[in-house]
């Protein structure tokens, strides 16, 4: 059989990779600490309250990670306008008929597993891009609700920008609920996301998994020329 010749394509620029891994790290930290804040562990202890501060530390990590998450998110939006074509915002927002058509193709081929067919995209495929668009909306919801909850306990100018949020929801309990439910979106997203990276790497053999490390994907010579045309 004929061996494939693969061309190296620089897909994920260094800022995108740094964004991705910082985002992954802080989201894991936020989910773990956030879950603990919602349902603290039962610690039976004879220590005096003045000698322990573990819940305070959990909350501190949550707030610190939240600041990193927020600025990282802002940076990614900025990079969506100045980065390469694979980082551009147009990959995420369905703006054309072709976008929807590609989404449908991906659903048929990769989700419903059309027999022995591949959908080969160089950067994000349309469905992935759209799902990331939904996660950006979830990011925004978490920033707004989290900032709104945080505003009442801070004098800083940044949290103060979110002080209007509780008024929209009427009360903090509802705000807290929305913040909590959205956490589950991230958990479910992470499970599917990691699986699909495995899937693409396994089925397409183009270095999907390592692409977020070095930034490269490897495209078959003939596909490369097809994209070029």
């Amino acid at each position: 059989m004929k061996n494939k010749v693969l061309r190296r394509v620089y897909v994920w620029e260094r800022p995108v990779r740094l964004y991705h891994w910082l985002n992954a790290l802080v989201i894991v930290a936020l989910c773990i600490t956030g879950y603990l804040i919602g349902a603290p562990l039962a610690i039976q202890s004879n220590a005096e309250a003045s000698h322990s501060y573990w819940f305070g530390i959990v909350r501190f990590i949550h707030f610190l990670a939240a600041y990193l998450f927020f600025f990282n998110f802002i940076f990614r939006i900025y990079w969506g306008f100045v980065g390469n074509k694979y980082a551009n915002w147009k990959n995420f927002v369905p703006t054309s008929k072709a976008f929807f058509k590609e989404m449908w193709d991906v659903i048929r081929i990769d989700i419903f597993l059309k027999r022995n067919r591949e959908h080969l995209a160089v950067g994000h495929n349309a469905l992935a891009g759209f799902i990331y668009f939904l996660t950006f909306i979830a990011f925004a919801i978490q920033c707004l609700t989290g900032g709104g909850l945080y505003a009442a306990m801070s004098d800083g100018w940044l949290p103060a920008l979110f002080a209007w949020v509780p008024g929209v929801f009427g009360n903090d309990q509802t705000l807290r609920m929305v913040h909590h439910i959205t956490m589950w979106f991230f958990i479910v997203f992470a499970i599917i996301h990691v699986y699909l990276v495995f899937y693409h790497d396994f089925v397409e053999g183009r270095g999907e998994m390592s692409s977020m490390g070095g930034g490269w994907k490897f495209i078959e010579e003939e596909v490369f020329h097809k994209h070029k045309a």
Partner: protein, 377 residues
């Protein structure tokens, strides 16, 4: 008092002296109120001067869908002058609960205030207003609450919405809200409205709001949703004496455990202090005796909008709407994650079947590459 001419009213101070209070009592009262309002010490003089020079503020106090707990709280505030000077017959031109007049006389008293002091009187409203069935669920003197409110609000200088009923509808507005119970700010537009939520609000807070209006002639500084900042800018959690246990992660697990005896934080048994804005932790209740958390029960968030539907009271996480009373976001989330994992397992198996050719060709290609390397060696 001549009934035809506008009566010349005595000042608050004069009324008090007539009632038998000493100047010393009066000064104690102004000092106390200044402290509750969070004013600096010069504020005492301002309040004293205002109450000595200003004649009493005409007040109409309406009761709609409510339980009168606001009035009860008010007349039990820690200084007797609060009740005497502001709520007693001196100050109130009309209030169903406490006025001596009844029937037509009472209606006449209200109308007299409205016509004698247009644009001057303060309208206090206790209770929500039912708007369904043309307001038939609450009628007083043959008129619906909606009509009474609109009529009284038209000439009011400002409106004070007492308690959660008037501020956000309280229990009678809980799903499915059968009478269409509606808070005041949704019915009256174009008037300054002070929201003093709570079920009931703290008596001292109510007195403080009224004294502020009398002293400064304007409404106190309000937050974004219309509550006086002096009393509602901090969460119960922020001023709670059990807060150190929260930060230390020491929680009551059930009401009969050792931790409850030690007075640990009530967060895990449903305390809504972290999401409730009120002055309970500082001002407390019944002459500063205690407040719910001090008595070993979590805050139920009675001064927050929708607190009745954000239950249960004894669980930290609210029920998830539409999934039954026992469903929390965590239960639903766990199920969603489980279903996702099962879906992925099925998809992974499906992939190996449906994409077999592609996968096999990769494997073959890879193996032949590896073999060639061996030969070259």
């Amino acid at each position: 008092m001549a009934s035809s001419a506008k009566p010349q009213r005595p000042t608050y101070y004069e009324e008090l002296i007539q009632k038998g209070y000493s100047r010393r009592d009066f000064m104690k009262f102004t000092t106390m109120i200044a402290a509750y309002l969070g004013l600096e010490s010069s504020g005492v003089a301002q309040i004293t001067e205002a109450l000595m020079t200003k004649s009493r503020l005409p007040v109409i106090w309406l009761h709609f869908q409510e339980c009168t707990c606001c009035s009860e709280s008010f007349i039990r505030s820690s200084h007797p002058i609060v009740a005497d000077i502001i709520l007693d017959k001196i100050s109130l031109d009309y209030t169903e609960t406490l006025m001596a007049a009844s029937g037509h006389q009472a209606e006449a008293a209200m109308h007299k205030t409205m016509t004698d002091y247009p644009g001057e009187y303060v309208l206090c409203v206790e209770g929500s207003v039912p708007v369904d069935a043309d307001g038939a669920y609450c009628c007083i003197g043959g008129k619906s609450a909606v009509d009474i409110l609109q009529e009284a609000a038209a000439g009011a200088k400002a409106i004070i919405a007492w308690g959660s009923c008037a501020c956000n509808g309280c229990v009678q507005a809980a799903k499915p809200n059968p009478t269409g119970a509606t808070p005041i700010h949704k019915l009256v537009k174009g008037k300054p409205i002070i929201k003093v939520p709570g079920c009931p609000p703290i008596g001292e807070v109510m007195a403080g709001v009224l004294v502020h209006v009398v002293t400064f002639g304007r409404i106190p500084e309000l937050d974004r949703i219309g509550r006086p900042k002096a009393f509602y800018s901090k969460r119960v959690h922020d001023s709670c004496y059990r807060r150190p246990f929260y930060d230390a992660g020491l929680f009551v697990e059930s009401f009969d455990d050792e931790n409850a005896r030690k007075g640990y934080c009530l967060y895990k048994v449903g305390c809504k202090g972290p999401t409730t804005y009120n002055a309970c932790g500082v001002t407390k209740w019944n002459n500063g005796t205690s407040y719910p958390i001090q008595s070993g029960h979590g805050c139920i968030g009675c001064s927050e909008e929708n607190f009745w539907d954000n239950g249960p009271f004894y669980r930290r996480l609210s029920s998830f709407p539409g999934f039954g009373i026992e469903s929390t976001a965590d239960k639903i989330g766990t199920i969603a994650a489980g279903v996702t994992a099962a879906g992925i397992a099925a998809h992974a198996i499906g992939t190996n079947i449906m994409k077999k050719k592609i996968i096999q060709s990769h494997i073959q290609e890879g193996r032949s590459g590896a073999k060639e390397l061996d030969i070259e060696k």
